[in-house]
């Protein structure tokens, strides 16, 4: 993950609550073995009609919204399937951040782990930002200050909360696996003790498979 302390973005509103990851990235785009080519699948059924033609009435297909890189979304954004392709696709499309009053848990972890910043604000403040964006008719200029945990637009300034760990991940660009592997000795020691106490969970997958085959 790259270091990131500030996002200067262009924000637009998506007025849909419970926007699930099936809609963010439909199934037909999940057949790869790498992360590439997902921008095309993003919001596919919203962006394209059944013949694959862009829907002109969807804002992201309009030239005025070409610069959109911050989404102001309805609550429980990213619910449903755990597919991280939804996050990779948003990033490949150019999104840097999503603002909503709540996010689904797995999507939240996936996004923050990849450096797609998710900002949680109270629904009233989200609505205020949506209104500002809708009124303008083009994406509004919006800054997110990760150092000071502020969202700023022409008309609003809101403070948001983020865990100290996530904030550090953004500011310092951490390799989480690398950090955890520094604790390998503790993990091995824990596992030994755990298996002494509960021997029936040691190698449970391997032993079951050996029995079945």
């Amino acid at each position: 993950m790259h270091k990131l302390s500030k996002i200067h973005g262009h924000a637009a509103a998506l007025h849909i609550a419970n926007f699930d990851t099936d809609q963010v990235m439909p199934k037909q785009f999940l057949r790869g073995i790498d992360k590439s080519g997902l921008a095309q699948g993003l919001f596919y059924d919203l962006r394209f009609d059944e013949h694959g033609e862009p829907k002109q009435n969807f804002f992201l297909n309009q030239p005025a919204y070409a610069k959109t890189d911050v989404l102001i979304a309805g609550s429980n954004y990213g619910c449903g399937s755990s597919r991280e392709h939804a996050v990779w696709g948003m990033q490949q499309f150019g999104f840097k951040a999503v603002i909503a009053s709540s996010f689904a848990e797995i999507f939240y972890s996936n996004a923050m782990g990849n450096g797609l910043l998710l900002v949680v604000l109270p629904e009233k403040q989200v609505q205020a930002l949506m209104k500002e964006a809708d009124d303008k008719g083009v994406p509004i200029s919006l800054d997110i200050d990760i150092e000071n945990l502020k969202v700023r637009t022409t008309h609003h300034e809101f403070t948001f909360v983020m865990s100290a760990r996530h904030r550090r991940m953004f500011l310092e660009g951490l390799d989480v696996i690398g950090l955890t592997l520094k604790h390998k000795k503790e993990i091995d020691a824990f596992a030994q003790e755990h298996w002494n106490e509960q021997p029936w969970v040691k190698d449970v997958a391997r032993k079951t498979m050996d029995r079945l085959n």
């Binding site: 755990s82 597919r83 969970v201 997958a205 079951t208």
Partner: protein
Amino acid sequence: MTARTLYQKLVDSHTVLKLDEENVLLFCDLHLMNEYTSPQAFSGLDEKDREVLMPGQNIAVVSHIIPTHHEIPRKIADPASSLQALNLKKNCVKHNIPLFDTNHPLQGIEHVVSPEHGMVRPGMVIICGDSHTTTYGALGALGFGIGTSEVEHVLATQTLVYRLAKNMHIKINGTLPVGTTSKDMILNIISQIGAKGAIGYVVEFSGSALTDLSTEARFTLCNMAVEAGARGALIAPDKTAIDYVLARCPDITGEIKDRALVHWASLYSDADAQFEKAYEFDASDMAPFVTWGTSPDQAIAINAAIPTKDSIQDPIDKLSLEQALRYTKLSDGQRLEGTPIDHVFIGSCTNGRIEDLRNVIAAIGDRKVAPGVRAMVVPGSGAVKAQAEQEGIADKLIAAGFEWRKPGCSMCLAMNDDVLTSGTRCASTTNRNFEGRQGRGAITHLMSPAMAAAAAVTGKITDVRKLQGAANA
């Protein structure tokens, strides 16, 4: 010692390190993988030349992309999907990870396969790159879904950086009436607490209504807790759960068994344990539940009507209702009973187990699939399929006009070639009625297997309790 919830006990017993106030390094006893959320995790390991730390605690299954046609051996025609399966095999061989491959006789959906062969034991922490991992709470194991980056983290470290959840208690009193199942129970609960009602929480279910539920019915309940946003679901293991586990774990005998029983007996929430949120429901007046919208919380009892626009105060909820009804081609205030359906899908990690199939047989009696309806039954695993064939369920289904198919996730998410066309209305025993989930423009009504069976034989959404001669499950 301070009183702890079952959830807190499970986290404590798996905490390698406390990282900060909100996060711990959590040890994972079992990691399940599928073909579509794991490839990028393996390539991530390869890029950094990292090993799988504890291969024997990991298992992989080909489940999501696999076709369910009758074909021996099974072949994956789609080249990209075929590559995913081959790639999974290559990765499992390279890293010495056990695999239920495409043509393994016990292949099936990860959440059906792993408990039925005794890999899920009370007190474990189980993760998988699939949101329905909450299923294992039915056996007192903490299960939850993770993304691909976390799959990579688990492979390399057998741990997760885990953000602690809050505790929610859902007590369900009474007893489910005849004709209703745990699917109706969970749809009812989600409709009341909402699709985001449990965000941030691990839900512990308890109450007299659970006592009579089989382990399989409890799987259904915990499986769908994620549709309320829950980060996990738990039921304290009782005799039902422990009998289920012991019947499937021949390795747990003698002194090990005695120790396991002692440990499992400690897996409950202490009497004074604090839950940040609590709900209470009564199962006695629950009716069969069916979804009308595009979110699992948009569900009503079969004898109720879809909410009217005017009855909804919140402008966002009102907008959601309008958006959903536009997609499902229904009207506010309308009843669902009698709505014609084109397709029936019975299967999935929610309702693809043997008990579900027995419920289908009981509901249809001597009836046949209604003309014009295509009804598919996809067993959750090879073992479920074999058992259903042995019990004569498969023959009865085939005689009644159902398609009896091979195991997999199939039309729950339509990632294989089982995809509905636009406008098709489907009575489905799955877990998500999202827009486009079963195919672009396809309309999904979630319901129990008995209700889906009733829809199959009548050609419309039907209250299974009114079906003459149905042995109501």
